[in-house]
Symmetry: C2
Subunit: 445 residues, 2 copies
């Protein structure tokens, strides 16, 4: 877990600001949940590995001593807390509850590039509708975010859990083996068909099944280049439709993917959507469409999501449809940092002007000048101690503060203050009442 | 610990926005630290009660099993993490590091009004100077925050740890009994002098010592009304100076309080500062001036702070002076909520306009219109399903969305869309290219 020094925080706040602004334009509303949840709320929602990576909090005994067991845990993602909230506050929430949530989550994972034990997720989720409009809007929102941040080369990989299931059914894989087959297929890009075939043999799975799966996914599989994605999506959908024609839920799932792709034609996601029939997503709660964002220069994803129509029901007892998308703040920051994508407006200077302290007699006057400049909206640092002026100038320069104000007795007697421009080195006497305007002029001039 | 639904979050974000803006105008820079610290970082910094209230995180064994002991803990405040950061990054930080930090902290406390187990602190701290300019600037920043939020009736109680110590020394209280005497004195407002006297007797402390203390604090003690504070401060300082004339560190501490009061004359804190010689502050790390904010309608404080010149040294080995102030977000929100202090700009409506879905054939067109409005900066919700228009209007009205857009086939053929004003009930056909401007006109008109 890391500390974020001022320059880090300013970059984080810039990205979070863009994300929140786009999410709000899509009509999503802010939600915040506590860092700590009851441990039962979290266990059994993320699969076996997820359960193992949950940070558990020691129970506090009645006498203030520790009981040695855990009753609370740190939030592992923002989706399960949302499901709990939807179940808990159903009566207070609108029929179609669309929320965004930008908060940290914690996983007791081994850290790697862009992957930390504490990291921020930036989630949008829409509750209450099974319509593919939900998925299309979510993909569009995420595309808008990435484009506003300056990404042009991202891919939103798209698949459907029921397409995966149908594909394996049709290929003759027994349901009990679906999990391990998906783990092997997920590596297709990395270890190629022959590597996957070796894994099939090792796990005692029929090699012919792999041939059938490869025939279905075919040549149109996972396209990561930017050209002709819509055409490839259309070709792959036709191919999938034919291969799964005999499989009822599979056929319906292909129809959902077709609808998402068609609706996205009018949105910013259009050129970025790429069907990928090997995309599986790790979390166990997904039930329908699944997404993942890839960029060429990052091994992991910038985010992912999908439909999870059964998760709220695990808390409320009645099914409530839902779908969402989660952007990983840290990974976005890693790529933006490496590519130098931050605009100059993400500043590194902490103050527009520094007020120096001349001597003990004029400190109160210096604080009064600082107040006037702050009231005018400027960011004003005050050197805290009476010290040699040269040392104070040097300090301001070392911090890249462009202007320094000198409140001396002689100037004060004339109702003036000294204004030094550290960029040019020039110093002028300015009537105190005109000081803020003079600084603003020089800032913009 | 609580969930914050959208209206809650919007109010929280408004207050946090004001606080961060004021802190930035004072030249403070943002810092963020992880929620989780090594447990040794936290233990022994907050006094005995503090140690007991720290949430401890179960150690994860090598094999992924739990070891039953705790090596990590949830942050208890933002000051100790800052001290650790200053020690850890000393070389990267400026000589006078001024940071603000607005993050949650956790205490395994019994919840009460405005007091929760997870709550946000909004801290400013200035590192590297012993000058009373630091305290004056910090009190001014906090005053600016409260005034911008609409508070007029707050008091910044001011005292000094060394004044307390000197007062008890001069009164003849042995150093070992200082702690319990301060706890008793702290209740002077609640249980009056006779109640405190009973506690003195019960604890076997000399009753004459109380008389001497009351003589020092005298009639000018803790003033909570708004009139004549500067005059009372001056009277109390003179009285303290005389009473502690023979006590070297006490005399120096009175000098510091005089300087803080004098420097504050030019700041927004001027009319709010009130010396209170019984103010003690619970945390054990304070070494100099201490502050606490009181408002008439809250038993607890809105925030507090002080100077802690030894805390950084506990991590770095060398002394680094520091002082700061912490505002409690939740308590500010409680009082603002009860008094109805939130401005109308803190909205409760999630979208400026809702786009309806006419039928399956026009959904993609509806999404395209939504995109155009969002690109124009409007917050746009889309009804997710093709449904009766009346039902969609009703839904928008129930959510207080003022405008609804209808993308029907007939209008589409003419390059128009329907725009319904739900406030007046009127509906007009608007050229699609002029839609965003038409909505903006109606919003402001």
């Amino acid at each position: 877990m890391r500390d974020f020094l001022p320059d880090d925080v300013r970059r984080r706040e810039y990205v979070i600001g863009v994300i929140a602004d786009v999410y709000r334009r899509y009509g999503f509303e802010p939600l915040e949940t506590p860092a700590v949840e009851n441990i039962e709320t979290l266990l059994g929602k993320y699969g076996e590995e997820g359960d193992r990576l949950i940070f558990k909090i020691l129970k506090r005994g009645e006498d203030g001593k520790q009981a040695g067991e855990a009753d609370l845990a740190l939030r592992y993602d923002l989706t399960v807390p949302l499901a709990r909230v939807v179940a808990e506050y159903r009566g207070q929430l609108p029929k179609f509850f669309k929320r965004y949530q930008i908060q940290p989550v914690w996983r007791a994972d081994r850290p790697q590039r862009g992957r930390f034990r504490e990291f921020y997720q930036c989630d949008v989720d829409a509750i209450g509708s099974t319509s593919p409009v939900v998925e299309a809007e979510i993909c569009a929102a995420v595309s808008d975010v990435l484009q506003r941040l300056g990404f042009a080369d991202f891919t939103i990989k798209l698949n459907h859990r029921q397409v995966l299931t149908a594909m394996l059914d049709v290929a003759g894989i027994p349901a009990a083996a679906h999990g391990e087959v998906l783990i092997a297929l997920d590596k297709l890009d990395k270890i190629q068909a022959e590597g996957v075939r070796a894994e099939f043999v090792q796990r005692g799975l029929p090699s012919e099944a792999l041939d059938r799966i490869l025939a279905i996914t075919g040549a149109a599989r996972a396209v990561t280049d930017a050209h002709g994605r819509p055409e490839r999506n259309a070709a792959l959908l036709a191919q999938l439709g034919a291969a799964l024609a005999s499989h009822e839920t599979g056929r319906a799932a292909v129809g959902v993917l077709e609808a998402i792709v068609a609706l996205s034609a009018a949105t910013s996601a259009h050129a970025h959507l790429a069907l990928d029939t090997t995309l599986a997503r790790g979390l166990s709660y997904y039930t329908g469409a699944i997404f993942e964002i890839a960029v060429p220069d990052l091994a992991g994803s910038l985010g992912g999501g999908g439909r999870y129509d059964n998760l709220v029901g695990m808390f409320s007892g009645e099914p409530v449809p839902a779908a969402g998308f989660s952007l990983g703040l840290e990974r976005i920051l890693v790529v933006m940092g490496e590519r130098g994508m931050f605009p100059p407006s993400v500043g590194t200077v902490h103050a527009d002007v520094m007020v120096t302290i001349w001597d003990a007699a004029t400190i109160a006057d210096a604080l009064a000048v600082a107040r006037e400049l702050r009231d005018a909206g400027l960011r004003v640092d005050v050197y805290p101690e009476a010290d040699k002026l040269g040392k104070q100038f040097k300090y301001a320069a070392s911090r890249h503060v462009p202007f320094v104000v000198i409140v001396g007795e002689a100037e004060a007697a004339r109702g003036e203050v000294g204004l030094k421009d550290l960029r040019s080195g020039g110093q002028t006497a300015v009537p105190r009442a005109a000081l803020a305007a003079a600084i603003r002029d020089k800032m913009t001039g």
